[in-house]
Every structure is written in C-alpha cells, then in structure tokens.
Symmetry: C2
Subunit: 234 residues, 2 copies
C-alpha cells in the first residue's frame, strides 16, 4: 500500500518536538522509518512515549537502537559514573549541563547510515533554535555543516546520485507555533514526554528547563498541556 | 605518570593501518584513549587483535563500544539479514560491497563525543586514500567536511575554546610506506588482522581485497608478512 511513497528517516525521542516532526513528515506524503535511541538517558520513559506516538500516527517502521552513549560521554542526561571527567561539563561556556556531547552528531550519523541502507534521502529531526540556543548541535549552521558532510559521506551521493540531506522543519518556530502545527496535524500531545527528570509516577517535574518551555508553549496558545491535565489520567 | 600528556582519541580496528596510527599518536607524545567498535562485523577477531595491539604498545585506555550497526545498515561486512534492501549495494557506483554505509561518519561522531567527554582535542583515524579510493568516507574531502562539522558541534569549540579535529596521518602513504613507518615505531604486525573473511582457524584468506593490498605492501618492502609467516605460530 505504501510501496510508492518516498521513504524518510525520522528521529523520534518521544518529546513534543520530534512527535511534531514525525507528523510533518507524514503530512508531506513520506513513509517514515522512525529511529529512536536507547542511549542510557535517565528519562527512559521517552522510549515508551516514542512507541506510543508511532502507534498513534500509524507508523509501520520504528527501530529503537541500543547505543551505549552512557559509556562514552558525560552529561546530566546520562549516567555520571561512566567517564572520569565530569569537570568537563563545568568547562563549557554557558551551555546547560543537559547537553550530551556530540549527541546530535552521533544520532545523525546513525540516521545517515540507516537512510543509505533503506534508500531514503531525507532525515527529519525536530531541532529547534528558538528555545535551546545553548546547544551547539541544535543551531542551523551545525545542520548546514552536517549536510555538507552527508553529501560527501554516502556512496550514491558521491557517485553522482542523490545526496541524503537533513531537514529541520521546526528550526525557526516558537514552542507555541510548534504545538499549533502539531495539533493541526493530529498529534496527541498527551502521549509525548518532554521532561528531563520525570517523577516516580512518570509525570513531568514541571521544573526543568524542558518542562518550563513546554508549559510556556501551551500557555502561548491558551491551552492546557494534555500531558499534565488531570483528565489525561496520568 | 602520564598526567601531563595531552589526550587523543585513537580509532583502532585491529588492522594494519589503525595499529600504525596508534603508534604514530604515541610517537607524538600523546596519551591515546583507544576506541574500538563491536559493530557486528564478521571479522570479530579484529577486536581480539585490537586488544593485543593495545597491550603490545602499552596502551592503558581501551574502550570497546558495542554498536548495533548490523541492525541499521546493510553491507557485506555485517549481517545481511538485518534490513530489507540489499539491492542498495548494487545501486552503488563502483564502490566495493564491503563499504558499510556511513561507517566512518558514525565512528567519528562517537569519537567526537568521547573526545569532548575526556578532554581530548585530537582524533586519530587510519584512513588512507591510496588503496581504498572507492570508499566515499575515506577521502580527504570527507575528513575536511567532518572537521568543519566538529568545529560547530562541540560546546567548547563553539564557545571560543579549542575545537576537536580529526587527524589522518596515513592519508597519502602507500601500504609499503605505512608498514615501514609502523616498523620504525615498533608495531608488531603479527598481531594485526586485515582480512575481511578470515578462515576458520583465524588465518587470513589472502584472497580478499584487503589481504591483497597488505601482501602487496609487504612485498614492496621485500619483507614477509609476519601475520602469514609459518614461524608466527598461526
């Protein structure tokens, strides 16, 4: 049924932005091959959310790849015991300690290999420069450089064929604009989780930066966050 | 004892080129933090070789990272069953089927995260453009583009600090020149394995492209390959 659709790799964390990005790819008539990473993040509920979002949007192909990023890098989002230099985080220049070294570079590199293997030429990622300008690997120039690399990194691209390119449809949208877009495309935000440090019952902490940006986004639209509404049953 | 040495990440496959690269990094007075990947390659003997090379050169830090590249990409070097599009390989433009989609992009991205976490600014990789010009991700322009990306991808680099950069000391050497360099630096090539499809007893097939290039390299120098010599006990 979906034989003739163009394939696209979509990176899905289980958060609000990536869920919206997946809906955008579907809206563009693409067949999403969704890729999530089990990389030792503390909020492993993200992966349950990612699976629920895929089901909700009727996605057929969802791969959760184990990735021992926690053995390799130090970040407040992963285990702190793995590597011996947590002082690295402090050395950084005003960048939140939730930054995971080279995370988007790693995720996009794996997405590139996946794309090349399944015959996809577009990789969607929900990066956004409005709210998280502190992360080096969320900025437009980072993605521009990655696309230059991708054009040189794949067999077909180098051979004169089509190059794989990363698309960032949310790059310049505010959180409110992202939510409005997603709602118009049928995203069920009650399934998404944006919190960096969910409470034991799985509900968002409403204190971390990610929660606060999300709350602000829904407020912009004058809407309750379905994730936090008592009626959502969570 | 090695407190004051500059750290460098060195990618080590267990083959001739990467072993030589490790020796180069040591010769430059760096403290190598060696990274190998268990990515489902058929020649998993490579990883035993990598460990033996580290011991032989007195390397203290060697991390073997599991990486389910076999679940993600299709190549003659990894399992063929994982993904449904082996026909991709044929579509490629004269590139050997031992090409693993985006492999060097993935390896360097992970090395970048590792480097940033341990406070290293140099990543060594034994890429060589003389013998394997068919691989898109072994060419100088690929590494140039990766370095552009790396400069935009890390917290410290973006914050005005030192950028992480990839070094390819073997790029323009012939196989014979690489071997001569390694021998001068004390590399024990009997420990290395270059074969894509080792025989059941672990000895090299001497038929695959990688074996043939290696044999030619030793012949250039008028030396036997210690890996294949009967006296090596293998």
């Amino acid at each position: 049924m979906t034989e003739n659709k163009e394939r696209a790799v979509v990176l899905l964390s289980g958060g609000l932005d990536s869920a919206t990005t997946l809906a955008v790819a579907l809206d563009r008539g693409l067949e999403p091959w969704v890729l999530s990473f089990d990389y030792g993040q503390k909020a492993s509920r993200e992966l349950e959310a990612a699976a629920a979002i895929c089901r909700s949007l009727g996605v057929e192909h969802h791969l959760i790849l184990p990735l021992r990023l926690d053995a390799l890098v130090v970040s407040a989002l992963t285990s702190k015991e793995a590597m011996p230099s947590p002082e690295e985080i402090k050395r950084r220049f005003g960048i939140p300690d939730t930054y995971v070294p080279a995370r988007n570079t790693v995720f996009l590199a794996l997405a590139l290999g996946f794309a090349e293997s399944i015959g996809a030429y577009r990789i969607f990622i929900g990066a956004n420069d409005m709210d998280f300008s502190g992360y080096p690997d969320c900025r437009p120039e980072f993605f521009w450089a990655f696309n230059q690399l991708a054009g040189l990194a794949t067999a077909e691209g180098v051979g004169g064929g089509r190059k794989v390119q990363v698309e960032t449809p949310l790059m310049n949208l505010s959180k409110g604009e992202i939510i409005r877009l997603g709602l118009s495309l049928g995203v069920d935000y009650s399934l998404t989780i944006s919190c960096y440090a969910p409470l034991p019952d799985g509900s968002p902490c409403l204190r971390c930066e990610s929660c606060q940006i999300r709350v602000k986004g829904f407020r912009e639209l004058g809407l309750p966050d379905p994730c936090c509404a008592p009626s959502s049953g969570r």
